[in-house]
Amino acid sequence: MLGQEKIRELTQQVLAMSKAEQTEVVFTGTDSALTRFANSAIHQNVAEGNTEVRVRVVYGKRIGVASGNDLTPEALKRAVDTARAIAMRQRENPEFKSLPAPQPIQNVEAFVERTANFSPEQRAQVVNALCKKAKAKGVVAAGAFRTSASEIAVANSLGVFAYHPGTVASLTTVMMADTGSGYAEVAHADASAINADALAEEAIGKAIKSRNPTVAEPGEYTVLLEESAVEDMLNFFAFLSFSALAVQEERSFMRGKSGEKVMSENVTLWDDGLAPDTLALPFDFEGVPRQRVMLVENGIARGIVYDTPTAQREGKTSTGHSLPAPNSMGPLALHLFMAPGETPKNEMIKNIERGIWVTRFWYTRVLQPMPVLITGMTRDGTFLIENGAITRPIKNMRFTTSYLDAFNHIRAISRETKLTHEEWTGGARRMPAIVTDGFRFTGVTQ
């Protein structure tokens, strides 16, 4: 960790090197460690320190980007020169207007010293306790315990300077019995808030309960989807539906639907990078403050997220959802929330006459973007529900179903929510468990 002042100096140094009309510097620094375990023992255990400086230069309407991880003055100069050389050969982008101007950015506390200083011994102790618990119950433990500290800063020649430090701790586990397995996960900015004991109990309980599974016939079922499965659905909505680029390119169901009902009345979804109960990041990769964006309110389509290019295309302002330049993916909702419901999670099963309990989804892929038609498998804890109770474990099933359709048939939402960390984007999700009807299963695995 370099700290705010050193990074400010470094970004100013880069801005001073550039002769471009506008210049932007994005700094990211990460110290991360991950302890991985399988067969109830640590088998991979790694740590990494890395930095990246990403320079975007603007000459007229021509833009070039270069990045490097070497912080010496010579290397920084080289990045600036490469970005310039690229811009000189670039074609004009007629849509480009300007890099964003400074706006006030709210400070959000997301850095926990304890997490940043968490040692390999501390991680090993947590993992060891978890593995011992598994062995005592006759199951095999696998999983990963990650702790990381990161700093992100964005500066540009128009006066933007935004800096944010954050930490993440996440623990995931799959417990395996001879013919069954159980999954559990948890994330928090504070590593000491991770309750490994409870996590182990949950996964071990599932592994034992899911032994000797039998086949359930494919078909339409009512499903109880736990938080990890709901997270997968939110990820696809974020990527396929809630981005202004997806709407502009006519591949999102949100297109032309503002103010209309698109989901069940009990569904409220929003994005909020400033919330205290997410892994906060108060600005985006252009240094624009993140706004809280209501996406779906009581089932009614309310909004989508924008970055500067997609906002300018519609004469709007960015909502602070840009990814790092150059970005062809468009804006992305990184801090999605789904509002909790009224039902305690342990009572959700009561009104299900016949259905399937799903712990998590696996290998989900898009078949058609508009209806968010997805195929995937269930994994690590799939059970048949009959007359309000779990009656038996079942073999993992393949589903091919529209997530949008599923969010139009939600009959119960849990009162409790869970926070998860998304590795690829560094974002976070907070969501409840749900019960929805008409979920289409199309196959069974062996």
Partner: protein
Amino acid sequence: MKDLTGRALNIAQVRGASYADVRIVERVTQHVAVKNGKVEALEQEESLGFGVRVLVNGAWGFAAGSRLEPKDVERVVTQAVAIARASALCKGRDVNLGAKIESKGVYETPIKINPFTISLDEKIGLLLKADAEMRRVKGVKVARGDLTFVRENKQFASTEGAEVKQEIVECGCGIVAMATDPATGDVQVRSYPNAGGRHQQARGYEFILEQKLAENAGRVAEDAVALLRADQCPSYDAMTILLDGSQMALQIHESCGHPIELDRVLGSEAAYAGTSFLTPDKLNKFRYGSDLVNITADATIPGGLGTFGWDDEGVPAQKSDIVKNGLFVGYLMSRESAHELRLGASNGTMRADGWNRMPIIRMTNVSLLPGTWNLDDLVADMDDGIWMETNRSWSIDDKRLNFQVGTEMAWEIKGGKKTRMLKNATYTGITPEFWNSCDAISNEKSWVVWGTPNCGKGQPSQVAHTGHGASPARFRNVRVGVVK
């Protein structure tokens, strides 16, 4: 650099490591992307650093740093040793690497034209031309094209005396046309030369020129628009299908390449990527596919993304049999896993995604060897079937058994001829049943070394570039569409 590796290995031994290796890796990536007539991305990324892997008390530790100053080397090596000591607090069997590896030498990807000497103007021009060709077709909503160039210089040294230096160069390219019908909500895409618009090989710029993007752009765009009006692919319980080469490459990657990774088999990926149905009791006994099916893992194929001099444990590149006349006969192995199962020496498949990742078992070039059929004869030999081209989606369970695949475009084949175009074609199956239903593979004339530059595995996540030689092949009694 030799100073750095020597110093790192020395510190590791002084601190108590029984084995250590160090890799210094510098990777330069250039990316050019064009979308709807505009240059959307033009960037160059450089990343330099080193990673140290140590064995202490029979357990692994790994640490990596981006600064190469002597004090940083000392700090990172010390960290790796501390991590290994922590691993030993909760270890399984002591790690045994088997026989020593003392490789020495230099390897460079053979290239004709160095892609980093080609001007950005030329690269942009090539994509803009293809882009214009695509957008000339009425009904195309989004046209995009990509070029990717990678140069990786890496140095590996170990306390066993191995010392190798490699330069790997890759070139990748592709175009995609997307057509939409807002009235029906239909979205159709067509890619060339490979799914998602990226084919890649370990070759020079000559590879890009051979792909003739602009010459193929019009056809690709017309296909995308035609798909909007095409009939929906019907569902069948049992149908004959013919898969094109790029789709076969993916079928091999997902249903053979991953389940033969010995670390998955031994449970290392159980909590994440998953395990494998190809358990050790099946080795040399299990009928994976029909007699026609011969699959090899070969890190020496010219142009393959899994082609190199040595893997990231210093083990030389080699070719080994995976499936022979339908019988499952081999795994992708590391030193540790090969020794654990007493399967002899490693066949050299450990690779790391850059300096900041620990090597794990990765596919090299896992290929289906060509059969005897001319592709035209193969089509003519089909009374009633479906030809499917270019992957659109892929999903498989965590043991690699139940898969479902979507393709971009399909054709009905009746009486040995392609008749009507079909959209949204999917097929589904169980891995060994599927491969046992293979009854024809086309010959070397249609055999291509496809590149998969986006294979994800491991925690923290790693992306590997793998190669797959494949030609079109036919399968009987396959479930097509989503039947109740």
